[in-house]
């Protein structure tokens, strides 16, 4: 179905060629022209163009489909010569295609969501020439929300109108939408505006928008603090067991995280290779147990092979685990290469949740916050409430006596270390969703993890949580006004000073049991 049936005319070969090749500006002009009189063929061609599925030669354009060329005008299959070139679309061109498609969708689509998106897209790329179309769309639009958006689009399009009155009115209208997009439009106009009263109107509008964006900034800052905190927490939780409880100064903790991340990568590969495309999004679900098991296994091997000979000699564990960490890093380099490997967010974790016009909370971070919470609860329950947890705590405090109570200490040690390592693996799995997966992934987190565990008070799960969240939020708060480098320095200095005040961390064990 087409809106402008009367004026629509079929796509011509010349038009197609003008859109496909030449200087970008000319192509945009040709496109905008074609859109005003678009028919279905034009729409299909524009779609193909924005999919990069078009080739051209000096005199002909081909729409490509399954490696075959079709004439965009006639739709007939035609042979593509060897020397045909791919179309190249740069950002400007892509923007133009988006706008063109939006115009077409605005009236062509029955789906309200599509129309709303189209309206949003147009708002980012307003053009006075489209006003008639927008008005037509307004006339038939029934959805209030979309109508309001379209009003904004019209106002935005009028912002560069030659008529001063229209510009002032447009500024007023745009001020109603408290979003960064409209602010950008107003600002852009402001740099070009010469008339004083229009300038004033623009500035007023901008100030109004600014004021209402403040809350969004605050939410952003807090969210990013919590998010950083949850990352720190995940990184530190495993260490809270291997170091906090077991007393192993585990310098290979980071590498255990790295193994979890690589396990996620491997799981992704397996899904890509053996699973239907539609299942790909679930690779991460499978990667969670996989990363836990992979790291736990490595941890168990380390404990059996090295660590268990070193209980009661914590400083020696530093040396041995340092050696282990070097070897694990190199092992990964030998297997996977020194480069980073790519781990994708599954579809459901891509993008973000738009909370306010200037607050988009990325799904991957939201998921990690939730994940960290779940891991924390599970671990707290396991350590605090189960028999296994009791044995772990008992054994780590006094190995010989625990064995006299009938506890198989060697086995419990292995379980405990494997558990800590497995949690590190889970952290690695989570981190693969926001950062690098490479051989030195672990090195970036080891210092932070230790700081968190120690600041919380060694052996204090609750302290670890407080420290992680505290440092995360503090870091982001300072970063907001002093920049990332100074923020990091400030946080480190804060830790130094904080420990002066509380030499045993936030949750110090008080009293005589601390000395025992």
């Amino acid at each position: 179905m087409l809106l402008m049936a009367g004026s629509a005319h079929a796509l011509t070969a010349d038009e197609a060629k003008a859109i496909a090749s030449g200087e970008t500006e000319d192509r945009v002009a040709a496109l905008n022209k074609a859109v005003t009189t678009a028919d279905e063929k034009t729409a299909a061609f524009i779609q193909a163009m924005s999919d990069d599925a078009v080739k051209f030669t000096a005199d002909k354009v081909f729409v490509m489909k399954d490696d075959k060329g079709y004439d965009p005008v006639t739709g007939a299959e035609s042979k593509v010569p060897e020397d045909a070139e791919d179309v190249v679309n740069n950002n400007m061109m892509r923007g133009a295609f988006d706008a063109a498609q939006s115009v077409l969708k605005l009236v062509g689509s029955k789906d309200e969501k599509v129309r709303l998106e189209a309206a949003n897209a147009l708002l980012k790329n307003p053009d006075e020439s489209r006003i008639p179309m927008v008005e037509k769309a307004l006339a038939v639009e029934t959805n209030e929300g979309i109508k309001a958006k379209l009003e904004l689009v019209r106002a935005a399009s009028l912002l560069n109108s030659a008529d001063k009155g229209k510009r002032i009115a447009a500024a007023g209208a745009l001020a109603q939408s408290k979003s960064p997009d409209t602010k950008l439009l107003l600002n852009e106009r402001l740099t070009e505006e010469t008339e004083a009263d229009v300038k004033a109107a623009l500035q007023r509008a901008i100030a109004g928008i600014d004021a209402s964006l403040v809350w969004g900034d605050r939410i952003n800052a807090i969210f990013s603090g919590i998010s950083l905190g949850s990352v720190l927490l995940l990184a530190a939780l495993g260490l809270a067991i291997t170091y906090g409880l077991m007393g192993v100064i585990n310098m290979a903790h980071g590498e255990l995280m790295m193994i979890g991340a690589y396990a996620t990568y491997v799981m992704q590969g397996i899904f890509q290779k053996y699973m239907p495309e539609s299942m790909f999004g679930f690779y991460l679900v499978a990667a969670i147990p996989a990363s836990f098991i992979a790291s736990a296994l490595v941890g168990a091997i380390l404990e059996r092979g090295v660590i268990r000979f070193l209980y009661g000699r914590p400083l020696e564990t530093l040396l041995a685990t340092w050696g282990i960490s070097l070897m694990l890093q190199q092992l990964v380099r030998s297997f996977f290469g020194a480069q980073n490997v790519g781990v994708e967010n599954p579809g459901w974790m891509s993008g973000g949740f738009t909370m306010l016009s200037n607050v988009t909370l990325p799904w991957n971070r939201i998921c990690i916050i939730i994940f960290a919470g779940l891991v924390l609860l599970a671990m707290g329950w396991l350590i605090g409430k189960t028999r296994l947890g009791l044995f772990v705590r008992g054994v780590t405090q006094n190995r010989p006596i625990a064995s006299c109570m009938g506890v198989n200490t060697a086995r419990i040690d292995t379980y405990a270390f494997a558990l800590g390592s497995g949690i590190a693996g889970l952290a690695g799995c989570a981190l693969s969703q926001i950062g690098n997966v490479g051989p030195d992934l672990g090195q970036n987190y080891i210092v932070d993890s230790f700081m968190v565990v120690v600041m919380g008070g060694v052996g204090q799960l609750a302290g670890t949580v407080y420290a992680a969240m505290g440092l995360g939020i503090l870091n982001k708060f300072i970063e907001g006004w002093a920049g990332a480098v100074l923020a990091k320095i400030a946080v480190l200095i804060f830790i130094i000073i904080f420990i002066q005040k509380r030499p045993q961390g936030i949750f110090a064990v008080k009293g005589r049991s601390a000395e025992a």
Binding site: R313, A320, L492, I493
Partner: protein, 415 residues
């Protein structure tokens, strides 16, 4: 009433010890220069410039390891921030060396190149003394010493112990590293200082200058070694070890641990600073990477590999680890981390007292069999007991004393 025989304090070094010390001194001051300067290059005995540089560098590291051992091995305080003191000493020396470049830099200016590049018109305040060699020497000691003093004073006063101390020292070096990375801090940012031309007007890139630095480093190392020996042998050293074992007992015995810890901490920091100052002209570069937490951990590792709470151990450890590193990165560039990692694991598993501990056990075993055989052949417990009684010690002590004697270590220097 039997007269109690109190153990007498051993000399600073045993006879054998002095001999070994003198040999080391001769090697450093005479043999190495001769092999480098006067032996023809194609001779098998020629000590290449590369070897001189390498050994010189490792001797600097050995000083750090020694410093680490005083604070960690003997006092039980693990510092994960000694890299910072090392780098600070290095930076003090580096500033002087940068000034000595004079107008020979890229920009032909009196200011160091990086300042010209940042459009600075004058030296920042903290470069005030960088022109004077004497002031530089003072600063090499004073800056690490003062920072260590302030940091240590507050930390020890707050009774920060164990890992808590380790972690804040790590935070300290990490923060300083980030600070020095910034160009605004005025230490050349990430690149740090390099391209040095001369010291005291004498070109650095000459063999004789290099040899001079080498000899100075060697003598400093040996000097610090003797100093450490003396310190640890004194009652001061024993208080340190007592603090390590039972700090509360030390306090209830009337010692305030604060000045003790602070003193050894500052001494240790200064030693690292001096090592850094000797290191910079020899390797030709100082940059904030030296303050990365990993570097400080490595210092501790040298000490552990060699053997903690012995003075010779850390020196040996520094040579073994760094020698292995230099060698393996060439012969097995893609596998050396496996070897190095395995070395660390092997040392902890099989040599709990480091290489020195191993050597001691060997020596003890060489001497012990006779004694053990004797004990076994006698067979009867009664006889053993009377032997012990006649020696005036418990049977358990017999063995201990034999081991200590065999290792030839004077009092107060046990693992």
């Amino acid at each position: 009433m039997t007269k109690v025989a109190l153990p007498s304090k051993g000399p600073l070094l045993s006879g054998k010890g002095w001999t070994a010390f003198c040999i080391a001194l001769i090697v450093v001051c005479a043999a190495a220069p001769m092999l480098n300067l006067w032996v023809p290059h194609d001779s098998a005995f020629y000590m290449s410039d590369y070897a001189v540089a390498l050994v010189g560098k490792i001797m600097c590291y050995a000083i750090c390891a020694l410093a680490m051992d005083l604070i960690w091995g003997y006092t039980g305080i693990l510092s994960l921030g000694h890299g910072m003191f090392f780098a600070l000493g290095g930076y003090m020396m580096g500033m002087y060396l940068m000034r000595q470049i004079g107008r020979d830099g890229n920009y032909k200016s009196d200011l160091p190149d990086f300042m010209v590049f940042l459009d600075w018109k004058a030296l920042p305040w903290h470069w005030t003394f960088s022109g004077s060699f004497v002031m530089t020497l003072i600063l090499i000691v004073a800056v690490p010493g003062l920072i260590a003093f302030v940091f240590g004073f507050f930390a020890f006063r707050s009774r920060i112990k164990g890992v808590y101390f380790s972690i804040i020292t790590q935070a300290m070096t990490f923060a300083t590293m980030l600070l020095f990375f910034r160009n605004e801090t005025g230490f050349g940012g990430n690149n740090g200082f390099t391209d040095f031309k001369r010291i005291l007007g004498i070109p650095i890139a000459t063999q004789s200058m290099r040899m001079t630095l080498f000899v100075m480093t060697g003598c400093t190392l040996l000097g610090f070694f003797l100093f450490g020996k003396w310190l640890i042998g004194s009652k001061f050293g024993r208080v340190l070890q007592a603090i390590r074992d039972a700090e509360s007992r030390v306090m209830f015995s009337g010692y305030n641990p604060l000045p003790y810890k602070l003193t050894i901490w500052v001494i240790s920091a200064i030693m690292c600073g001096v090592a850094g100052a000797l290191y910079v002209p020899q390797v030709g570069i100082i940059n904030p990477g030296e303050m990365s937490p990993a570097n400080s951990i490595e210092i501790a590792i040298w000490a552990a590999v060699g053997g903690r709470a012995t003075l010779i151990g850390p020196i040996i450890g520094a040579f073994i680890v760094n020698g292995a590193k230099s060698w393996l990165t060439v012969v097995a560039p893609e596998y050396w981390l496996y070897f190095l990692g395995a070395l660390f694991i092997a040392v902890t598993l099989f040599l709990p007292d480091g290489v020195v501990g191993l050597v001691r056990r060997w020596i003890a075993r060489m001497k012990a069999p006779k004694r053990n055989a004797g004990e076994l052949s006698e067979g009867r417990a009664e006889a053993q007991r009377s032997l012990a009684a006649s020696e005036g010690v418990e049977p358990a002590a017999l063995h201990k004393i034999a081991v200590a004697a065999a290792a030839g270590e004077p009092e107060g220097a046990r693992a």
